[in-house]
Subunit: 304 residues, 2 copies
């Protein structure tokens, strides 16, 4: 069955793509076999990641160039409520009518974690399906988002003028993951100041490669600066390929992917039986009522 699915995916069948992504998101038992086949068919797409309110404009630009575009929107959601809350994707509606665009929201899977792992796998599926550009939209600068963004080829960080303190707050994200920096709403006051602040941050120079992230100014609602952004993304990608540490970077990403998979596999094995699941409920109640500490709780869970 998987071999037929893989054939349909590589033929670009969107129903098959959607089904494959559901499999990896849901942690289906045959998803690992599927992903082994997917993996050897990846490596052609340009993967653009990062927090972005420009995804729809960039996607439209790539479409005009005749390229197929995949969009993965990562919705942070709570481990407690379970559901994805964000997803205010009205601006995506026009795009979603276009057969050359595949849009998918990924939400957290709950107790096994795995959002980052599932997102990276969804990207691989789109890559194997022949989407030339894959845009991974994340929100915020949390650990998951940073990991997802770093697994992309090029990461775009979007700021708006007048963020002031927030530029400082986002320093980590900007310095770590920003291959291309964008100041959107660049028709507003304060653009120059934000630009100076960014240049100040960049001049601290913690990057190990030679790439100097360009600062692109855009006005998304007027479609201004989008071509410059696409151009900056291409240049970042080219520079990266020839960077002296490109092999190290790929190894670090590979290592992280292996560990993510391992983490999830181990937890899934530890929790797979119904009795463990009942035990977990009981232990959680005991810890909540302070009848037990969480440390002895896991000792009981692990003990066979």
């Amino acid at each position: 069955m998987s071999s037929r699915l893989i054939d349909r995916i590589t033929a670009g069948d969107t129903t098959a793509v959607a089904r494959a992504i559901s499999k990896v998101e849901g942690g289906a038992s045959d998803s690992s076999d599927l992903m082994k086949q997917i993996f050897s068919r990846t490596g052609r797409a340009l993967i653009v990641g990062g927090k972005s309110s420009l995804v729809d404009k960039l996607a439209a630009f790539y479409r005009k160039q005749g390229e197929r575009v995949g969009i993965i929107a990562v919705d942070p959601s709570s481990p407690f409520s379970g559901g994805a809350i964000l997803g205010d994707r009205i601006r995506m509606q026009t795009l979603s009518l276009d057969k050359g665009v595949f849009i998918r929201s990924m939400a957290t899977r709950g107790q096994l974690g795995g959002l980052a792992r599932a997102t990276v796998e969804a990207v691989a599926i789109l890559d194997a399906a022949g989407y030339e550009k894959i845009l991974v939209e994340t929100v915020g600068v949390g650990q998951d988002e940073i990991e997802i963004a770093k697994a992309a080829d090029v990461c775009v960080v979007v700021l708006v003028p007048g963020m002031g303190d927030d530029v400082q707050t986002m320093k980590a994200g900007i310095m770590e993951i920003g291959d291309v920096l964008v100041i959107n709403k660049a028709d507003r006051d304060g653009v120059l100041r934000t630009e100076k602040e960014l240049e100040g941050l960049l001049s601290l120079g913690v990057r190990t490669d030679q790439w100097q992230p360009p600062i692109v100014k855009t006005v998304a609602i007027e479609n201004r600066g989008i071509e410059e952004l696409a151009d900056a993304i291409d240049r970042a990608r080219e520079s990266q390929k020839s960077a002296p540490d490109s092999n190290e970077r790929r190894q670090a990403i590979a290592r992280w992917r292996i560990l993510e998979l391992l983490r999830e596999r181990l937890l899934s094995e530890a929790l797979h039986s119904d009795s463990t699941s009942e035990k977990l409920d009981r232990l959680a109640a005991e810890v909540a009522n302070k009848k037990r500490d969480p440390y002895s709780a896991i000792e009981e869970l692990i003990a066979k």
Copy 2:
């Protein structure tokens, strides 16, 4: 040794507190025993979490009331570079000279993850050491941050006027974790609009408890609104204690803590030998060069 350390912690010895936090952060082998002893001594502090640029003002306010304050600043950082980059804590300098204030930055530990786990444990240590107020400062609205914030008693979400789209983007964070909403820089234009947007979000009402999160306006640099904020935090805390779902909430937090510990313990056991670590390096290189897929790599890692 741990029993002496626990005595020094409960006596409020800051050197012992710092050492204990380093132990849990570094995953020291005896940290689990220490935490078992800590756990039974927790439950007195008020833990305030969330993204906040008001932490220093709030801390100063609590100090004036004669309370001891612990501050944990969570620094997101990359799993690749390893270091904490943020930490622009100049505004904390005055506070740090005050013996009644304990300030600590927590950074990511790298391959085992565990930032959220270590942060929650650091909070427990400060609680056991008798700090009456514990402020956990996070950045962004990533999964880690949401989990950390939800493990706090009261979560404060800070916005500034004119965020426009960003209020939408932060919807998840606001709706999920905000027990108290703050509009800082409330002397700027656009306060009313931001307030209306927040009220609009709140009126959608996804909360399961009866608490209606208040919107507090502050001007941090002029110290305005801080008392109102502290008051709103107290009210949120009181409401929570009597909420019909308070037991469920505590169980969900307990369950999450157990799973975090379990996840880390399993990974640590799987990777603990030198040979596994060498194997991981080799497999990461093979995956990076597409000589192997990550799925068969973990099968080799797990196989004994």
